[in-house]
């Protein structure tokens, strides 16, 4: 278990403000957050590059807050690879084992094993600047993994790669995690990586951990306005709530949306675009939230179609391409949208971060 407790570190532009995170052995944690949220400093502090101003880090019960990086058994991979340019791929991967004075035949074997696992065994004699981005990142991952670290820290490992390479390497990271069961903490801006890789996801903003949970929970139940906006729940509205018997009525402009909540006063609500039904006729089912409106825009986003529907406020409704074609909808059409009260997520809206 890696316990990061109330870590603070002020580096001027970037800072950590009482950030806490607990990671079980073997877990794959993805950290997302806007630029400047303090994600990289967090990893570097966990790796031991910086000593925190406050807080503590424990690894399996041992206090490693002030331990030097080399004694932590935590390795790190950066977005721009950081392969040592004066060493071959083989010597790069062997670097850490040589530091630990591992016998050379064992080093040779370990380098070979990880190079094969990451499909770079044919590149071992080359120098890093002759490799593609994807190959360099594989080498960097091999260099970190060959140490059999307690945790592998990945700082936007796929961000510098083209989309095809990124996808391949993402799959391989997943395989690598399944095979080796290494604990991984992975920073990204990319939500696909969250859904594909994360056991749990942590959202950071302004040096703090804003919300930690399984990906689905974060996307469906953003804890506050910031998380909702950040994870892209597009239907986020500010309103005033009055609650009765556990049912909140939230007044947003001229409409009233019902939700299961006892929170009153200023609130935000969010409704995921895929959880909204749309039809050209009024819906007969006893659904709580149903509103007539008009399609004002149609956006094509790959396999999904997003309809912008004006019901007094504008909602985004997501449809599959097939569903969209079958419904024969066009701009200006009068439609009805409906969603369950349980689909409405409500959170207090006093500040954007609390």
């Amino acid at each position: 278990m890696l316990q990061i407790q109330n870590i603070s570190k002020d580096m001027g532009e970037f800072f950590l403000d009482h950030a806490s995170l607990e990671i079980s052995k073997g877990e794959y944690i993805v950290i997302i957050g806007p630029t400047g949220a303090g994600k990289t400093i967090l990893l570097e502090t966990v790796a031991g590059i910086y000593e925190p101003d406050g807080g503590s880090i424990h690894l399996d019960g041992n206090d490693i807050t002030h331990a030097p990086p080399k004694d932590r058994n935590i390795t790190m991979v950066y977005q721009d690879y950081m392969l040592f340019p004066h060493l071959t791929v083989r010597d790069n991967i062997a670097f850490g084992l040589k530091s630990k004075k591992v016998p050379s035949d064992e080093i040779h074997e370990a380098v070979q094993r990880y190079a094969e696992m990451l499909h770079i065994a044919h590149l071992l004699h080359r120098y890093p600047d002759t490799l593609s981005g994807g190959e360099q990142q594989r080498a960097a991952i091999a260099r970190a993994m060959v140490m059999s670290p307690w945790a592998l820290l990945l700082d936007e490992p796929l961000s510098a790669l083209d989309s095809k390479t990124r996808e391949n390497l993402r799959k391989e990271l997943k395989d690598l995690h399944e095979i080796t069961k290494t604990t991984i903490i992975h920073i990204t801006h990319n939500f696909e990586e969250v859904f594909d890789l994360a056991d749990r996801v942590a959202i950071m903003n302004e040096g703090k951990m804003v919300q930690i949970g399984v990906p689905d929970e974060i996307f469906r139940k953003p804890k506050n306005h910031f998380v909702a906006e950040f994870v892209g729940a597009t239907n986020v509205f500010k309103g005033t709530s009055t609650s009765e018997n556990g049912i909140a009525s939230v007044k947003i402009g001229n409409i009233i949306v019902r939700a299961h909540s006892e929170v009153e006063g200023d609130v935000y609500i969010s409704v995921r675009p895929e959880e909204i039904l749309i039809s050209t006729a009024p819906l007969a089912s006893p659904i709580r939230n149903a509103f007539p409106g008009k399609i004002s825009e149609i956006r094509h986003c790959g396999a999904m179609i997003r309809l912008i529907v004006d019901i007094g406020v504008t909602f985004v409704v997501a449809l599959t391409r097939q569903g969209f074609e079958e419904a024969e909808l066009g701009i200006g059409d009068l439609v009805y949208i409906a969603f369950k009260a349980t689909s409405v997520h409500l959170f207090p809206g006093k500040s954007t971060t609390e």
Partner: protein
């Protein structure tokens, strides 16, 4: 950028640049072609020129070594760490660049000749005033800023994240510097060493002040040029000058090749 063929600005500025280059080449050719070939060869065979070459090489290699020993660590600190007064230290370390070497020489002479430290060193057998040791210390003092500046910008150009990675791979600070940053700084190191060496070979003003100009004792190539010029032994003087020209050309080539100018 204007590309008009008849742009007066273009013609004028190019003419100035080319004219300057031609003037430099002319001067060098003039020096080298002045003595007869025979006179030149005889001079090159003279014990005095041999001594000057020997002394110049020895002093410049040692002073370059000192510049490396002092300049590289200082440059690393200035590139990597923040500390109170860093800005002031940075500015002061660049000072010898602007200081006339003669003035630096006077300072060194006073330091080694009149202070208790200088006297203590002399008692211990390290006499700097009017000895080759003085030449070394003069070359070091005048040239260490070049080493420092080149290495500072070299280190600044290497992301500290290389060291971070090395540390997670079992290195302490010093090992990370030794195994990663220094090898990556090799080009800058080479450029810095070459320019320091070349400047050391040519050092005159400060060395003259501290070590004086004594024939066959503190007679480096520039001092030899000066001494022989003053007493009309033109062949010897020109030989010394010619050797200096070749050394400069060689070091300029190496310096440029390893990207020295971008780091100065």
């Amino acid at each position: 950028m204007r590309r008009g063929v008849k742009s007066p600005l273009r013609v004028a500025t190019i003419a100035i640049g080319v004219g300057l280059a031609l003037f430099i080449v002319l001067l060098l050719l003039l020096i080298m072609s002045h003595p007869t070939l025979e006179g030149m060869i005889n001079s090159l065979k003279s014990p005095e020129i041999h001594f000057a070459i020997y002394l110049s090489l020895v002093t410049s290699f040692i002073s370059t070594g000192l510049c490396i020993l002092i300049g590289v660590p200082a440059a690393y600190a200035l590139a990597r760490y923040d500390f109170p007064g860093k800005h002031v230290v940075n500015t002061i370390l660049d000072m010898p660049l602007a200081l006339p070497p003669l003035v630096a020489g006077v300072g060194l002479l006073l330091f080694f000749g009149t202070t208790p430290v200088g006297e203590a060193l002399a008692m211990a057998g390290l006499v700097f005033v009017f000895t080759p040791l003085g030449i070394i210390v003069a070359q070091f003092f005048v040239n260490v800023p070049f080493m420092l500046r080149i290495m500072r910008s070299t280190f600044e150009g290497i992301s500290p994240r290389y060291e971070y990675v090395a540390k997670t791979l079992g290195c302490n600070d010093t090992q990370a510097l030794w195994r990663v940053t220094l090898p990556m700084a090799a080009n800058g190191f080479l450029a810095g060493s070459v320019i320091t060496w070349a400047k050391g070979i040519g050092e005159f003003g400060a060395a003259l002040m501290v070590a004086g100009a004594t024939r066959m004792s503190t007679e480096t190539l520039p001092i030899s040029l000066f001494l022989n010029m003053s007493c009309g032994k033109l062949d010897l003087a020109i030989s010394a000058a010619t050797i200096l020209i070749f050394m400069s050309l060689l070091s300029l080539y190496i310096f440029e090749r390893y990207g020295g100018f971008t780091r100065l």
